[in-house]
Amino acid sequence: MSNPQLPDPVLEVSGLSLSDPPVPGPVLEVSGLSVEYVLDRGSVRAVDDVSFTVSRGEFLGIVGESGCGKSTLLFGVAQLLAPPARICGGTVRFQGKNLVGLTDKQLSAIRWRDVSVVMQSAMNALNPVTSIGKQFKDAMQAHGVRNGDEIAARSAEVLRMVGIDPVHLRSYPHQLSGGMRQRSMIAMAMLFTPDLIIMDEPTSALDVVAQRAMMVQIKELQQTYGFAVIFVTHDMSLISHFSDRLMVMYAGQVGELGSTRKIFDRPRHPYTRGLLEAFPSIRGPRVPLKGIPGNPPDLARLPTGCRFHPRCPLAVERCMHVTPGLYQMDETLVRCLRLADGDTSQRTDEHRSLTP
């Protein structure tokens, strides 16, 4: 049952649906997570008190500008931070168990089996001096699979899942094309059909056509195998077609969090609105494009009060002095004082919705 409000030709052809309700029971619960970078001149918080949950089989998209902390958040969740970054607060509960503070050894049991990771650039994320097959084998051996035949069979199977000929198991990363590399990373992430796959901008290095193809592939796999996905990207328009829920990050904090549909129909946070207004529609009426003036703040020298107020079209005097929390409006969480006040001076005439 495809959504009539979303006549995406590609999706229609592949018969995918976007609004299948995910199975209840969260697979991941992040609560108050904060990550700081310890530098010579003091610490800087790249991620500040972020909370969200991911349900079984759900696709959560995380969007934001460069430097908003989304990649750091991802690594924080996956416990992959390296000095000078460190988690300085909060918990990350994966299937009930808090991962923060565990050693690599303790984490290795659930790593890859239950949670896997796909990174931005396969060229950088794959070991350049070992073959693809060997890297698949590594992961399997680390989790107790010793039988050579089993390993070979499974490796071939996951490659076929993403449409790559298993003969490439013998290839080295530099011998594959960019798209193939990226897909083999996804295949590798699927080795144990985990419950959650975390993806850090896996499509950013690809061209537009390849991006689309990969997103469709990911969505297909998700529908077939039922794993949850956290997908970080700066490309709002791309993610909107595939994610169930969306989290907009700004300056290390959650700006808006809710179902993708609701956010697109009625973006509440001025930043989210700014982001949506920046994307033109191919078919809609010609509207003057608006960017968001200014630059994201230096995390070491944050503005007082609301972090977004210097660039916000709705900002008033209060915004400079009071730090907004997350307020619930319908089922969306929004970090904005104006909206919490019930201020209805939102400019509804310039709404962007998914209907072209």
């Binding site: 310890v38 931070l81 390296a82 000095p83 000078p84 970054a85 460190r86 300085c88 565990l102 050693t103």
Partner: protein
């Protein structure tokens, strides 16, 4: 030999701004400060040797092989020189060789390296080949052979010989960095403006490579100190010159160690080691300044310990 990995990413900062940042970085990095202090100390000694040592280093008038005393801080040599005076006055020749050969070798390396990178094509190939061949031929044996033919190499000859054999190592590094700059926008702009290649090389490329040029200079200076002293030690320098290497040569000749006159060997060696350490420390510190990942990591003590592997 200083261990360096080329990682600097130069930007087009103005000279004044860069100099200030540089100075701050030197002050904050302990290794750089130590190295800089040592170097300045040696320079002062070389400039005003008479202030420290009152004896004539070449005068062989004292009783031989004396131990340290108030009159002779380091004792006397096997021929009757005051060791302290020799060490102090010897600083001059060593520094001249170090700075001279360092400067000359770096200049040649810069010219060849950058030109090769800039011109590209067959020129690059040819210059590269020349560099590689010279690089691979073992330097010290070559130095020995050349010095053997020349006999009794004085300061100038030493500088010349060290320069001619030593430029190849740093030429390689400079060429690599010049290559990364080749396509940068500000160079394209200069080319489009119609500037001549020489102008572009000297006025546009070289200033952005200052940090690497500095590192190359330090490397070459260190190499010059060590090799010049070594050559003098084995007798291929001018044995009548006042220098740390020649002090060691005479100590060896005198069989100082066997006879128990340790200071005759320890003093010049320690001087060489200290000056060498000054160059090496500065070089290593610049490596760290250029590549922040190499800086010393403070161990983070808290319940959320995250290290390379927890």
């Amino acid at each position: 030999m200083a261990a360096t990995t080329v990682t600097t990413q130069p930007g087009r900062a103005s000279a004044g701004h860069a100099a200030r940042r540089f100075w701050r970085a030197v002050r904050r990095n302990r290794k750089a400060t130590a190295g800089a202090v040592l170097l300045v100390l040696f320079c002062l000694i070389a400039l005003f040797p008479g202030v420290l040592a009152h004896d004539d280093p070449t005068a062989q008038i004292y009783p031989r092989n004396l131990g340290p005393s108030a009159a002779h801080l380091f004792g006397t040599s096997g021929l009757g020189n005051d060791l302290f005076a020799q060490a102090v006055w010897g600083t001059r020749q060593v520094l001249i060789i170090a700075l001279g050969a360092g400067l000359a070798a770096t200049t040649i390396a810069a010219v060849i390296g950058v030109t090769a990178a800039y011109l590209g094509g067959t020129w690059d190939g040819a210059l590269n080949l020349l560099t590689d061949v010279l690089l691979v031929i073992p330097l010290f044996p070559l130095l020995i052979v050349i010095a053997a033919y020349v006999q009794n190499s004085g300061t100038l000859v030493l500088i010349a010989v060290l320069t001619l054999t030593g430029w190849s190592y740093t030429a390689r590094q400079l060429r690599s960095q010049a290559l990364t700059l080749r396509r940068r926008d500000f160079l394209e702009a200069a080319r489009v403006r119609g500037e001549r290649p020489l102008y572009i090389i000297v006025v546009e490329i070289l200033p952005t490579m200052i940090s690497l040029l500095l590192a190359a200079f330090l490397t070459n200076a260190l190499y010059a100190v060590l090799f010049a002293s070594s050559l003098q030690y084995i007798g291929l320098g001018d044995p009548n010159a006042t220098s740390w290497g020649t002090m060691l040569y005479w100590a060896q000749n005198n069989e100082a160690l066997q006879a128990g006159y340790y200071l005759q060997a320890i003093v010049p060696g320690a001087c060489i080691a200290l000056l060498g350490a000054a160059f090496a420390l500065l070089n290593y510190a610049f490596d760290e300044i250029g590549n922040p990942a190499l800086r010393p990591v403070r161990k983070i003590r808290s319940k959320h310990v995250q290290s390379a592997t927890s």
